[in-house]
């Protein structure tokens, strides 16, 4: 896990923290702020959006589980 100790790793940790904080903040806002599931659900309502999300999901899985990073 030495990569996490690099400047780039610190930037990724910062970004991950912001992502978690905003997920919690939007989840606790009682729909006043748009949560990630709500955003994804809105895209799932269109055929093109659904296809794009599924394609991105498939590519992410193939890259992370089948190709050595």
């Amino acid at each position: 896990m030495s990569a996490l100790g690099t400047p780039g790793g610190a930037l990724w940790l910062l970004l991950a923290s912001a992502f978690v904080l905003w997920t919690v903040r939007t989840g606790a806002s009682h729909r006043r702020l748009v949560s990630l599931p709500a955003l994804l659900r809105s895209w799932l309502g269109s055929r093109a959006g659904r296809a794009l999300l599924l394609a991105a999901w498939a590519e992410a899985g193939w890259h992370l589980l089948c190709q050595r990073p």
Binding site: T6, R41, R47, C66
Partner: protein
């Protein structure tokens, strides 16, 4: 309830199996490929009646739901922050790839470190499978019409 438990058990079993496979093995390629085909089939069959879109929708319609959500939220802050976070992650990943040094690792390098362990790969594949199942089966929720958007803007403006 029963269907959820069944799907959850399936995801856990598949994740534990996937955790023991190697990146480059034929078994890993076959299992990930099979999961992609299964989720695509699930989306096409089970998700068919959950969509509210017209058959004639094109790729330009992807932005419309985001716009409706942005209208509904307080000055679109929620959507703007999400786009900012995703944009920052994409930008940092591209910069890391272009830089190529160990000081600026890409996201897949960081994920790869965790996924070399059995538990890391099992958790990663479990999250991926659950995400795919959610995308295939998630119920689309109406996000507000153009009229609702205008009404919301009027309220904000005090009209």
């Amino acid at each position: 309830m029963l269907r959820g438990m069944l799907l959850g058990g399936l995801v856990v079993a598949a994740s534990v199996t996937e955790g023991g496979l190697r990146f480059s093995s034929a078994s890993a390629h076959a299992s990930v490929g099979a999961a992609i085909v299964a989720v695509a089939a699930l989306a096409a069959l089970a998700g068919r009646d959950r969509r509210r879109s017209a058959r004639t929708e094109t790729v330009t319609s992807v932005a419309a739901p985001t716009h409706r959500l942005a209208c509904r939220s307080r000055l679109g802050t929620g959507v703007a922050v999400w786009l900012l976070l995703v944009g920052a992650a994409a930008g940092l990943d591209v910069a890391s790839r272009l830089d190529g040094s160990r000081e600026l690792p890409t996201l897949s390098v960081l994920v790869g470190l965790a996924s070399r362990l059995f538990a890391g790969r099992a958790v990663l594949s479990g999250v991926w499978l659950a995400g795919g199942g959610w995308l295939a089966l998630a119920r689309h929720r109406a996000t507000g019409s153009r009229e609702a958007c205008s009404a919301g803007q009027d309220r904000v403006a005090g009209r």
